[in-house]
């Protein structure tokens, strides 16, 4: 989902940067508030950032004969709501743009919108929907991880199609071509990421139940029988 440095025309680069900026500023405020008002959650905040740091660094093979990387943004979106991920995701993308020549500064805005805004919000929507129809925390987390991952890559394909529309078939034709690069490859990776998210939240439920209850993810349990 990283659009390479310099690949978006200047007008698009500026446009996406302006679109991303308010989300990142708002996200930074949310992180600062969270740390100040609920310092006991700082550890979990670190876990959310670390999770997306690891997952977005690892490129995995897929059934299509190409490889890609997961995003890991769904976990933090479920824990702290999506705005927080706008900041954490941007830090990941900056690290990769500056040190790894992966993504770039001119495409940072577009990549932030895909990875740190659309992905987390779509994942959070999938989580809320799952909970509303009676799914538990873990099915909700699975849905959030899968949808956040896929939504990020679909957004990247759309951004590239907007910048490079097809001569005959226009933006829609270009979208089909860019989706064919990303979409199928991403499906097994998104499912794997969903399973990893379930593993993370099982560990959190076992070791951080009071924190998850305070965040409203789990109903307070009756006194455990020991």
């Amino acid at each position: 989902m990283h659009i390479a440095e310099g690949f978006l025309p200047p007008a698009h680069a500026v446009g996406w940067t302006l679109a991303a900026a308010p989300f990142v500023v708002h996200g930074a405020r949310r992180v600062a508030t969270e740390v100040r008002e609920r310092p006991e959650n700082t550890l979990l905040l670190g876990a959310a950032g670390a999770f997306t740091f690891v997952l977005s660094a690892i490129k995995l093979p897929s059934f299509t004969g190409s490889s890609s990387h997961p995003t890991g943004t769904g976990a933090g979106a479920v824990l702290f709501r999506p705005p927080v991920m706008a900041l954490l995701g941007t830090i990941v993308l900056l690290f990769q743009a500056l040190l790894l020549a992966h993504g770039g500064l001119t495409t940072l805005g577009a990549n932030v919108v895909a990875f740190a805004v659309v992905g987390p919000w779509a994942g959070y929507g999938a989580y809320r929907l799952t909970r509303r129809v009676g799914g538990g925390l873990l099915p909700g987390v699975f849905a959030a991880m899968v949808v956040a991952d896929l939504a990020t890559y679909v957004t990247t394909a759309a951004q590239l199609a907007l910048a490079l529309p097809d001569a005959e078939t226009g933006i829609a034709g270009a979208l089909v071509k860019f989706l064919s690069v990303f979409a199928l490859t991403q499906v097994p990776l998104a499912l794997g990421e969903g399973l990893l998210g379930v593993l993370l939240f099982r560990a959190l439920t076992a070791n951080a139940r009071p924190e998850l209850e305070r965040l409203g993810l789990l109903a307070p349990a009756p006194e455990p029988a020991r």
Partner: protein, 101 residues
């Protein structure tokens, strides 16, 4: 407890299978090129002209993979630290409850 361990093992197995199966089924015919690079190549084919260079590019594939490993290590390290702290906190609370009253 054993049931919980079994579920954990099955989840880990599921992740491993999802990653390993493509490699096994493929039998060495594909190069597993990254989709980001493929998309960039497709964009160039369609007339995209990069107008800005990365401020810093790793000078070789080895350096690049090392930096990716660094990113994963930082994330994995912090994640392990947090889960360890949370677990320690819980165990301490539990033993305090057992010791008191």
């Amino acid at each position: 407890m054993t049931r919980s361990r079994l579920v954990t093992a099955l989840l880990v197995l599921g992740v491993v299978v999802l990653i390993a199966l493509p490699l096994v089924l493929d039998g060495g015919t594909s190069e597993f090129a990254g989709t980001d690079a493929t998309a960039a190549a497709l964009a160039e084919e369609r007339g995209a002209q990069p107008w800005f260079e990365s401020v810093f590019s790793p000078s070789s594939a080895e350096v690049e993979s090392g930096l990716f490993a660094l990113q994963a290590a930082l994330g994995g390290g912090v994640l392990g630290y947090v889960l360890g702290r949370l677990r320690g906190r819980r165990l301490a609370e539990r033993s305090r409850e057992d010791g008191g009253t």
